[in-house]
């Protein structure tokens, strides 16, 4: 391969602590504008910040989950720049003494596993939000000012947009697992910036790094990276170079557009934030946090493969989120066949959740309900297909599967006499199909079974029907 893509990511993640990073204001998405504010998070003259201990703890959790080194001594700094949503003219962040450094995430690629190294994870405060109106004025909401963030910076170890996608998925699921963030891109609790350029392996030439911002979903990020990858390659092939600039992804046009040119690197004039004492983290605290870390996605996946005998693919899908995994495990606990449960959870349950943009927590039914549904099928009370219909009802109404079956009269017809009558009726109306079958057209059998199912509104026991038809027409 002549061209090598080089990608580094900077991910901002809002932490789900109860209160903001430097004051007692509630840390909550939304709320009436400018109501979750106080002198400290508004940066009023004279107000001094006090670091929220939970923020440090959450960041350490993330650091441990990503194999980082946790610093016993770190420090807050001021990053100085002007913007209306920045209340103090500086953001309290960490410069050269971050809380976590090093670390990595392991990606499972087709050929081999790959470690993407992290440079650092540091804590900082979020800014307020600017809302630009059509008449050219700007409105400011400071509810978000002072919401705790971690910034995760990778080394430029990612070499394809799809790798970046895998990285982001794994990052997200891990952060959700350890309960430090809800990682909702649509609410801005996870934001991702990309640095990308391309190297020509033959000539050694490399393009200038493009920074990509305003990426609203992982998919958008991937498409933007793919677009940039091509753009860089084309320019490189023509012997040209990219500009050092920041671009954003235009979803409608399906391309990146220039946001601002970088006239030299920004100078944030970092200085020590001496209003906050240096952060001292004792080893005993780190160990205590490590002990309390939940099982991480990778370990859970390995366990699912071993303990439940699941294929790798199933284990992968089921451990995407902690909630999905525990929904699965709880269902299995009711004595169900692990693979059968996996088929249901990965198939109908997950598909429906994805279609509706819902999360496992939003489900109206419980693992016990799903287990009961599987019981109904196992006991031949309903067919698999009826089961799917019942599940759809469960999604919408949250009613118990037994109740749905009863109310709608969906109990499977397994009574031989009753079925015999229906089968005979269908056969007498479809003589041509019988002839076709006898002439070797196997498809005709399926048609006949279908007709019986139709006549019983799906309630006939399909195995029995199949056998009865065969018995009659093969005589």
């Amino acid at each position: 391969m002549r061209y090598k893509t080089v990608i580094g990511l900077e991910i901002h993640v809002e932490l789900m602590t109860n209160t903001k990073i430097f004051c007692g204001c509630v840390n909550e998405f939304g709320g009436e504008v400018n109501t979750h504010c106080c002198p400290v998070c508004l940066g009023l003259p004279g107000a001094t910040p006090v670091l929220n201990r939970s923020v440090v703890e959450y960041a350490i959790k993330a650091g441990l989950a990503f194999n980082c080194k946790i610093a016993n001594n770190s420090r807050m700094d001021r990053k100085n720049y002007f913007y209306p949503d920045l209340v103090k003219g500086f953001q309290i962040s960490q410069d050269d003494m971050p809380l976590c450094s090093g670390g990595y995430l392991e990606l499972e690629l087709e050929e081999e596993n790959k470690k993407v190294r992290l440079m650092r994870i540091h804590i900082e405060e979020d800014t307020g939000k600017s809302i630009h109106t059509e008449d050219g004025s700007s409105l400011l909401d400071y509810n978000r000012a002072g919401v705790p963030l971690i910034e995760i910076v990778t080394e430029p170890d990612i070499n394809a947009p799809e790798e970046a996608y895998l990285f982001l998925e794994k990052l997200r699921s891990t952060l959700e697992y350890i309960g430090v963030s809800d990682c909702k891109m649509e609410e801005g609790s996870l934001r991702c910036d990309v640095n990308i350029n391309v190297v020509d392996a033959e000539t050694g030439k490399r393009t200038n790094i493009t920074e990509l911002k305003n990426l609203n979903s992982f998919r958008a990020a991937v498409r933007a990276m793919e677009y940039e990858e091509e753009r860089h390659k084309e320019l490189l092939a023509k012997g040209e170079d990219t500009e050092r600039e920041t671009r954003r992804w235009d979803e409608v046009e399906g391309k990146t557009v220039v946001m601002r040119e970088k006239a030299g690197a920004a100078d944030y004039r970092y200085a020590v934030e001496s209003d906050i004492l240096p952060i001292e983290v004792e080893d005993s605290w780190i160990e205590d946090i490590r002990k309390r870390l939940p099982e991480l996605p990778h370990a859970k996946k390995e366990r699912f493969i071993k303990e439940y005998g699941l294929p790798k693919y199933d284990a992968d899908v089921l451990t995407q989120s902690r909630e999905l995994a525990s929904f699965y495990e709880e269902t299995v606990k009711y004595g169900k066949d692990p693979k059968q449960v996996s088929n249901w959870v990965m198939g109908d349950v997950l598909r429906r959740l994805n279609d509706e943009g819902m999360r496992v927590e939003d489900l109206k039914f419980t693992p016990k309900d799903l287990s009961d549904l599987i019981d109904l099928i196992d006991e031949d009370k309903i067919s698999n297909n009826i089961g799917k219909k019942v599940l759809r009802d469960m999604f919408e109404t949250g009613k118990k599967p037994g109740k749905i079956v009863e109310e709608k009269g969906l109990i499977q017809i397994s009574d031989e006499d009753e079925l015999q009558k229906v089968v005979e009726g269908v056969l007498s109306e479809n003589e041509q199909s019988i002839i076709d079958y006898r002439n070797g057209k196997d498809r005709a059998l399926g048609f006949l079974v279908g007709q019986v199912m139709k006549a019983t509104r799906g309630k006939a026991n399909p195995q029995m029907v199949n056998k009865m038809i065969r018995d009659i027409i093969e005589e």
Binding site: G46, V50, L51, P84, F90, R269, Y270, A271
Partner: protein, 481 residues
């Protein structure tokens, strides 16, 4: 009896003995303010109505035999860079000339809890940057001792008001000498407490690693009283330290028999006005006569203190003053097309020359290209300077020096900025080291007062109060007006 001549302690006693009502005290001081303000300009805002209201409340409490706080009935001035809830807090800047804070500072909260009576907000150099109280948007303050001279700065208003009897005690802030230098120039007692002793929640930051709220009074006891009222841990300021309750008033009269005093030899090589050196030598004799042992010590990094201070202070100023951008509160320029113009026009118009000079310098010191050679080097120097003091305090209880090497500057003339900067040489090391110090009157040259600086270790307030009190009692010239 002239009420305004009384010390704060005397006012307290007379209020308790019902010789005076709180209203008598406040009215006398408001009258004094009325009389002197025309020439002094020590106040930016006088809160006459509110003060009388509180005086009446205290008198009612007296009548109902309710328990009173330790500042009951005492008229107090608050430097106008300390936040007062609902009362204009301007920092002597056009930027905040109409700013009414929606919250209370911790020190003012404590003053109010202790039944102190705030008479108003006192003048300062714009954002406490300066040493003459002449950069205020509201005009310069003059020295009550000599109206042609500056009271010093930046807490010139707070200090002049105490000296002139407009208030009994006041709160100021000290970043590099801003309480002690005016105390020296006006002939009062001024204390810069240890960094962390007093909450800075509500002190508009100028150089936040150096700033500390402190007190001025006409004698050591008055200053100690105020210090005792406001000292103590505050969970809203992470740099405040929990030292438990302080008992300065109870313990400061213990005497200084056996106290070990250091006299830095490096300070003696500094160009000091000869008369001032004489006063220092005399003071040493008094301390020795009181049973203290005075020895020469060394603070080898003294020569780097001023440049270290200047770099750190400017770097912090540039960042602390960034919030004044015209977006949310304070002054906003009327003419602008773009966001950048809004910032530029606002800050150009609303900041004074000296403030802008420091912002520019600090921006330079922190810039990518220069941060190593200025800011980071200054941080390392600061550690060395601090270690000098740590070493000295292993052996000595207090350190003595003049407060300033010179007498008060003339007001409203072009003073040489380099000479002015040099005048902070004895005060800035104390802020860099985060320790405490007091300036106490130690005589006059002509009619101009001279100040003696007593430096103590971190949380060594009791030592400097003891030394100051003993010195004041045993010298005929201490504590005069």
């Amino acid at each position: 009896m002239d009420i305004i001549e009384l010390s704060a302690m005397e006012m307290k006693t007379k209020l308790k003995n019902r010789e005076l009502s709180a209203r008598d005290i406040v009215e006398a001081h408001l009258e004094r303010i009325e009389e002197r303000e025309g020439e002094l300009n020590a106040f930016i805002t006088v809160t006459e109505e509110k003060a009388l209201e509180i005086a009446d409340k205290i008198d009612r409490k007296m009548k109902d035999k309710e328990e009173l706080g330790i500042l009951a009935g005492i008229p107090i001035g608050i430097k106008d860079n300390i936040i007062t809830y609902g009362i204009k807090t301007t920092c002597a800047s056009r930027m905040l000339k109409d700013f009414i804070p929606p919250y209370e500072s911790t020190v003012v909260e404590r003053v109010i809890e202790e039944d102190g009576i705030i008479l108003g907000k006192t003048n300062l150099d714009e954002f406490a940057i300066g040493s003459l109280t002449d950069t205020s948007y509201f005009g310069a303050t003059r020295n009550p001792v000599d109206l042609d001279r500056s009271p010093g700065g930046s807490s010139g208003g707070s200090t002049a008001a105490v000296k002139a009897g407009e208030v009994a005690i006041s709160l100021g802030s000290d970043t590099g000498g801003s309480i002690r230098q005016p105390a020296s120039y006006c002939g009062v007692v001024g204390i810069k407490p240890t960094y962390g002793l007093i909450s800075r929640y509500g002190l508009v930051a100028v150089a936040n690693s150096l700033d500390q709220i402190g007190v001025s009074g006409r004698n050591v006891l008055d200053a100690a009283l105020m210090l005792e009222a406001i000292a103590g841990y505050d969970k809203k300021d992470s740099t405040s330290v929990d030292m438990g309750p302080v008992n300065y008033l109870e313990n400061l009269k213990e005497g200084i028999e056996g106290m070990k005093i250091g006299l830095p030899k490096e300070y003696m090589n500094i160009d000091i006005e000869p008369g001032i050196k004489d006063k220092l030598m005399k003071a040493i004799k008094i301390f020795e006569s009181l049973g203290a042992k005075v020895e020469e010590i060394s603070l080898p990094n003294t020569e780097w203190a001023l440049s270290t201070y200047y770099v750190i202070a400017a770097s912090e100023i540039t960042s602390n003053l960034s919030r004044f951008d015209g977006i949310r509160y304070g002054y906003r320029a009327k003419e602008y097309e773009t966001l950048d113009e809004l910032y530029i026009n606002t800050r150009t118009k609303a900041f004074g020359r000296e403030v802008k000079r420091r912002i520019l310098a600090g921006t330079y010191f922190l810039s990518n290209k220069h941060v190593e050679e200025y800011y980071k080097k200054a941080l390392r120097m600061r550690t060395l300077i601090k270690e000098d003091f740590d070493k000295a305090f292993e052996k000595y209880d207090i350190i003595l020096s003049p407060t300033t090497p010179n007498l008060p500057f003339k007001q409203n003339v072009d003073n040489d900025p380099f000479i002015m900067a040099k005048s902070d040489i004895f005060t800035v090391p104390v802020n860099l080291a985060g320790i405490c110090a007091m300036s106490i009157p130690c005589g006059h040259i002509g009619k101009l007062p001279v100040g003696l600086q007593i430096i103590g270790d971190r949380f060594g307030e009791l030592n400097i109060l003891k030394a100051g009190y003993a010195f004041e009692r045993h010298s005929s010239i201490g504590g005069d007006k």
